[in-house]
Amino acid sequence: MSMLATLITVVIVSTLGGWMFRFAGQKTTQNTPYFRDMPYGVAVGYILGAIVVLWLAQTYYLGRTLEAPAANKYFFFVKAIDLFIIFALAAYVFRIFGRHVGTSATRKLFRSMPVTAAFGVMIIIIYTIMAIFAGLIAPYGQDQVFPLANIVPGGDPALGGNPDFPLGTDQIGRDILSRLIFGAQNTVGIAFATTCLAFFIGSSLGFLAATVGGWVDQLLSRAVDVLMAIPALIFALLLMTIASAWAGSDKGLLTLYMVVIIAVIDSTRVFRLARAVGQNIVVMDYIEAAKLRGEGLAYLVFREILPNATAPLLAEFGLRFCFVFLTIASLSFLGVGIQPPLADWGTMVRDMSQFINFAAFAPSVAVAPLLAAGAIALLTVGVNFVVDWMLHKSSGLKE
């Protein structure tokens, strides 16, 4: 009931407040175009935004000042706000850093960059460094087992932590921090390779279908339809089962099979996009001019069509990378993806998933599986921020 009452209050306050806000703005600024042309919905949006910010601040204050166990309720909320502020500040500082260090080209790039893109770039750089230098950065090996299992993250002995393992250990006593760092190498590296392969297959076939048309287009498109008709995850599972039989005990070969299988399944989506985009481009006069010049198919596809399709393909790349990443994590979670003892974020979430049940009364225990999940989420968000920014830049969109 109080929920409903709050909701009604918010609606009333924002509808009235929106009107008053705009009216006050118009009066105090002598009807400048900004307030004069402000739609009512936008004015309400400002008030709603203000209400939400107030509510966030109040909840955060409660979570900070209350003692446990009452604060347990707000534990994740407080952590999320903390992390949000830390990341925002870090991205801001990173952008300032980028504006003053580096070649003139990168400095110029950073100058035109919104904070969100700077955040994305920062995340990608951190992950890349982690992936490349995993062996040097990680305090322990990814398959190194310690006798101290199930240490709680946080490193505080009073709460069941251990300063040697700042993010704790899993059920069989492997250091979570080290496994997260090695996981970047395995999961991100494999996902990146898979996405690149999917894009190579999908976009070249898609452009080919768009340019040549006729029976080539029919054949490729219907083949893709057939592949897309089978639910992707189930199809991948099925093929992975066959692949594990073929690969036998060779785990490297199984990983290679996985890359190819996911790439082929995902390339069907890329194919559709590339074909649709390509069809809009091949009707342009400059393609006709190139055809009449006598240019070959490869020149048409890679020199005339591809440069004009980069914007939608890039957007799809960002999204597809995340999907591939999640597919690999799901497959690992189901036990057919990246094989132990290799660290993988999907597997880590699966292994420790039952700790989430402790969230209500021992939030710091429940953090363990969320660390790997958070690593996935962070990269997904970061990649999408960067792709958004690139799209914005290449399309010349206003606002």
């Binding site: 010049r293 006598g294 980069t310």
Partner: protein
């Protein structure tokens, strides 16, 4: 302010948002309009005509704002009016007719349903009344089958008819003011006449005031009582139509008036027996099963310009596609300097392809937006001539000089950084890079402003004199034909109706269709339309005269 005064715009400023800053579009223009008066707004693209027209409704497009000044419609301040007040006015007392009716009608609804929307919403009429009224308006606008045409979908009627249906829609609430934004620009000359005559009639009948926006002086001369000339957001001058046409005071206006005077000297007659550069021999072609060309036959001789004229759908562009080999003809063949060419471009050799180049109507779609000018022009140089590195750069610079663009400034620019006329010049340079003997110009000037178009025509003429090129010049604009062509081919419905040297073509006697085409070209005489309608018989101006029905 007299009671006659309907619209009063004072010192209006509009700004557009680009790259986070507001840049001015209109810098303080005054505009007055009395009841029943028609004001013509003219200027080149980017002059702010449409923006000013919309501002007269108190409206600004997305990303545009009215920053200063006032718009007073019948005593109501439209700039500061609330949305509710504007809703009550727009569509009811102020209406708008857009340039492209085909793009402005909702294709999912019948014409009459879209027609009745405004009167019913504003509570002026019931649906039944409005439908009956719509039919009456269709009749007054001389649409064929006024009882029935409204129940068609927009794609089921022709472009000219749709434009008239849109005018009827604007009239549906009997507004005091209609803004016509280039209503005939997308139409053929023969169709344009019908629309112009209908608009003029109906505006007079209902004593509606109108703002008529166009870039075509001859059109505005027929429609407007007064003309206002705009240039880059500033007013150049304003005067009565007759005064303005006879004695323009400003240099800019004079230059606009003078554009149509460009004419090339006539060339000597062709040697009989000389082998033509290109001959189209009895070509019949079809898209799938639908035949589009019937037994088309004409020659293009060295160093001459053949203009191919006709309305849209007459097969002029299809003829060009047959010559280039994009659409292999069903019958007949294409000869190049007396030698038959393979019909499909894929079977032609590199050298055969090089001989015939093409310049397109829309320079925007003809240049790859992701390639620099240097790459666009450099590619054919490398592809056909095998030049690379410094030699290629030198050749591209030469070509850029030929089209009168500074090589160092433009070499590394992208097409989006050029104006429309400059883009068209790059299209010409790309064709020249192949060192062809023959160039097809497909409506190359029809998307350009008149002053810019004149520059392109002069450039093409110079290139022809210096390089001995032959042109096939496809156009629907007879003024362009007059200025540049040596021979003329008139096409209609996929057939060649008449052909011969220019001087003969513009002298009677004509084929009836040629006559119709020639007489439909608006002239700079304000009485031209009235006289023409009299000559054709007023009741007869509809489709009957065009011979469509």
């Amino acid at each position: 302010m007299s009671d006659d005064q309907l619209l009063k715009i004072r010192d209006i400023h509009l700004e557009g948002r680009s790259d986070e800053t507001w840049t001015p579009i209109i810098n303080g223009i005054d505009l007055d309009l009395k009841r029943g008066e028609v004001l013509g707004l003219i200027g080149e693209s980017g002059a702010g005509k449409s923006t000013l027209g919309l501002a007269a409704m108190g409206f600004a497009r997305d990303g545009v704002r009215i920053s200063q000044g006032s718009v007073e419609f019948d005593g109501i301040d439209l700039v500061n009016a609330s949305a509710a007040v504007k809703r009550g006015l727009l569509g009811k007392r102020i209406a708008y007719v857009a340039q492209s009716a085909a793009a402005s009608f909702n294709p999912a609804h019948k014409i009459i349903d879209q027609h009745t929307e405004a009167p019913v919403q504003h509570g002026v009429m019931s649906t039944k009344q409005s439908q009956a009224d719509g039919m009456e308006l269709y009749e007054r606008l001389r649409l064929p089958n006024p009882e029935e045409i409204g129940f068609r979908y927009p794609h089921q009627v022709s472009g000219g008819q749709l434009q008239r249906a849109m005018t009827a829609m604007a009239m549906s609430c009997r507004p005091d003011l209609i803004i016509f934004d280039e209503p005939t620009t997308a139409l053929d000359v023969t169709t344009q006449i019908e629309v112009l005559a209908s608009i003029r009639d109906i505006v007079e009948q209902f004593n509606t005031a109108a703002i008529y926006i166009t870039h075509d002086l001859a059109v505005v001369a027929q429609m407007a009582d007064r003309i206002k000339v705009l240039l880059k957001g500033d007013e150049v001058e304003e005067a009565d139509t007759r005064t303005m046409l006879l004695t323009p005071t400003q240099d800019y206006t004079k230059s606009l008036w003078a554009v149509r005077s460009f004419q090339r000297p006539a060339k000597p007659a062709i040697n009989t027996g000389a082998t033509p550069i290109v001959s189209v021999k009895n070509v019949t072609a079809a898209y799938g099963k639908m035949p589009v060309l019937f037994d088309v036959d004409f020659d293009i001789h060295a160093g001459r310009t053949v203009a191919v004229v006709g309305e849209s759908g007459s097969g002029k562009s299809t003829a060009a596609r047959c010559i280039t080999g994009l659409l292999p003809p069903k019958n007949g063949h294409i000869e190049f300097e007396g030698v038959a060419m393979p019909l499909d471009y894929r079977h032609r050799s590199k050298d055969q392809l090089r001989q015939a180049q093409m310049i397109y109507q829309m320079a925007d779609t003809a240049l790859n937006p992701r390639k620099s000018i240097g790459e666009i022009i450099g590619r054919p140089v490398q592809f056909y001539m095998g030049l690379t590195g410094a030699a290629k750069r030198k050749r591209v610079d030469e070509l850029l000089e030929q089209i009168e663009l500074e090589p160092d400034t433009y070499f590394s620019r992208l097409p989006s950084e050029l104006s429309g006329g400059q883009k068209q010049r790059i299209g010409i340079a790309r064709a020249l890079a192949a060192e062809p003997k023959f160039i097809i110009c497909d409506e190359v000037t029809s998307a350009l402003d008149q002053l810019v178009a004149e520059g392109i025509l002069k450039l093409l003429a110079n290139l022809q004199d210096n390089l001995g090129l032959s042109y096939m010049f496809i156009t629907h604009d007879l003024a362009t034909v007059k200025s540049i062509s040596d021979e003329v081919v008139v096409m209609k419905d996929g057939r060649v109706i008449e052909q011969g040297p220019k001087a003969e073509m513009f002298k009677p006697p004509h084929h009836p269709y040629t006559d119709l085409l020639l007489s439909s070209v608006p002239e700079m005489d304000p009485d031209w339309l009235t006289d023409l309608l009299k000559a054709r018989g007023v009741d007869n101006i509809g489709d009957a005269a065009v011979g469509k029905m």
